[in-house]
Amino acid sequence: MGPIRESFIFEFLYCHLSLEASCSSVRILNVAFIPEDLSWISFILTSFFWIFVFINAALVGVLVLIWGERRLIGKFQARLGPNRWGPLGLFTPVADAIKVMFKEDIEPTLSDKLIYVLAPILMVVPVFMIFPVIPYGAKTFLTNISVGVVFVLAITSINSLSVLMAGWASGNRFAIIGGIRAVAMLLSYEIPMGISAAGVVIVAGSLSLSEVVNNQVIPNAIFQPLGFITFLIASTAELNRSPFDITEAESELVAGYMTDYSSMKFGLFYLGEFMATIASSAIIVTFYFSGWRGPTFIPSEIWFLTKWVGVIAIFIWFRATFPRLRIDQIMSLAWKGLFELSLINLLVLALMIAIWPDPSGMQLLIMTLVNWVVFFLSIYIFGKILSPNLTGNKIKKRSVVYGLD
């Protein structure tokens, strides 16, 4: 109960239910009715209330994101996007959801029934677990677990298992190729993601997400640009979003691991992906945009929300801009590019933190400057070394002119 009872929003509701002695200072209205020796009931009631709120907020968030993404991509491509159903097309995702629910649910004969059903559930459920640990405001968080960073990275990587299960259980060649490719990609991008996150942890000096925010005087996106870029790219890949949507490459694999899924099972994959986008954006805000911190004349929750929407917009911007990469290009980008870049970032940060364990303001500025120099230098050098390999096709200059020899 410890870490949860630290949370203000949990404690507030709990104390309005329970007659516990320690609660009297938090209580505003005197409406508590559950006696102290039955406090587990109020604990469960409060937990269920917040679970209900968080799950529904996530689901509504997905609906809004689907609408916002389609509108915004439309604007990025100089068209309108959905605009017919409701004001500004706001009800379009509702219509989509109803359509998906009423579609026929097909199970292939060759499928492994249990795993086939479990895979989409496994895609969605872990994502719900990210939302409670994120600090949305100075006091607004549900639980502050001491290993938040590790927890978040661990939970976000479960979806690769789901993808593999879906691909395997479908009993379909396209699905299994898509699933295996997806897992290869997801596992490769785990590594630069984790190493970049280690850079954040080194600067914060703690694995707790609240501490990560508290210790970010300069937002990490400015303080360690190399780590930010690698983390951003790696998490785009983790989300299976364009330009890394190799898992469901329509032109090559029909729809990858989702080929055989229909109706609400397909809807769950869809839901899981969009929810993961929201959760991942919240993580990036916490790690790299100093979470809820900002000038105090605006409430910290508003700051968090603004940054959150901004990061989601960056993901949408990527999707509207970049074409899909080939699988070999993706793998070489992960192993030859991002892996080394994130290692360089970690090394430089670790050295500087070793010299100045508790940096003052001036020292922080110097560290930022060094980080930016390292950022440009390493990107330049790696670009020089890798760009022919990354594009995958070396064009040989021919001295022979056809037709003249």
């Binding site: 604007k75 990025f76 100089a78 068209r79 605009n83 004001p87 801009t321 990107i379 020089k384």
Partner: protein
């Protein structure tokens, strides 16, 4: 430097985001209050007084105003414009039609009965369902009576609805395409706008229609 190309791509889409939208919301566009007032050319008070429900809708951005795509004047539409007073009932159009979809029935004219130069049109059916819009009938017409139209809203549930009867040809708003009469483009003529409807058949076509005296000269005195 590696990554410059990516940034350029991001900049291109950003320009699109900030620039104008390409889409034309045919047939109806949902507008807010400002757009509605601009369309109706009213002050907010007048608009509230005349159409209160539409006023509330426009506050939510749900007021609908018609919007048409800008259309090339030489666009060959799905209807035909026919100027009866230019038509002599010679049935050249029916003869030239490669598909034989124009059906003309005439009777001796009440107008020029003595001369016998023209006929009254009783039936003039054009079966649009089989038309390929080649425009040979328009080219064939010696008196420039028949023109390609400029409309494109002729969806019907039954094949019968695709036949343009003579009454419809008579009563239709005449905004012909300039496909075979490009000289009309000099008169700042815009199809699909009711203001540019051609009411006087003298305004269209290559020939001035001969007056009664000229006809008498040509058909009576010279013989």
């Amino acid at each position: 430097m590696f990554g410059i190309g990516l940034l350029k791509g991001l900049l291109t889409t950003l320009k699109n985001l900030l620039g104008p939208v390409f889409t034309v919301q045919y047939p109806n566009k949902k507008v807010g209050l400002i757009g509605a007032l601009k369309f109706h050319k009213k002050t907010p008070f007048e608009f509230l007084k005349t159409q209160p429900s539409e006023f509330i809708k426009s506050l939510a951005g749900l007021h609908e105003v018609p919007e048409y795509p800008s259309q090339a004047t030489r666009f060959r539409g799905q209807d035909f414009n026919w100027f009866e007073d230019r038509c002599t009932g010679c049935a050249s159009c029916a003869k030239y039609c490669p598909l034989g979809i124009i059906k003309i029935e005439t009777s001796p004219s009440s107008r020029d009965q003595k001369e016998g130069s023209s006929y009254d049109i009783d039936v003039f059916d054009i079966d649009i369902g089989r038309c390929m819009f080649c425009g040979l009938c328009v080219e064939a017409c010696p008196f420039d009576a028949l023109h390609m139209g400029s409309g494109f809203e002729r969806a019907h549930e039954k094949r019968k609805g695709l036949v343009i009867p003579v009454d419809e040809l008579r009563t239709a708003i005449k905004t012909p395409s300039t496909w075979f009469r490009p000289q009309m483009e000099n008169k700042s003529y815009k199809p699909r706008e009711k203001e540019s409807e051609i009411k006087d058949s003298n305004d269209i076509g290559r020939h001035e229609q001969p007056s009664d005296e000229e006809l008498t000269e040509r058909w009576v005195n010279e013989r």
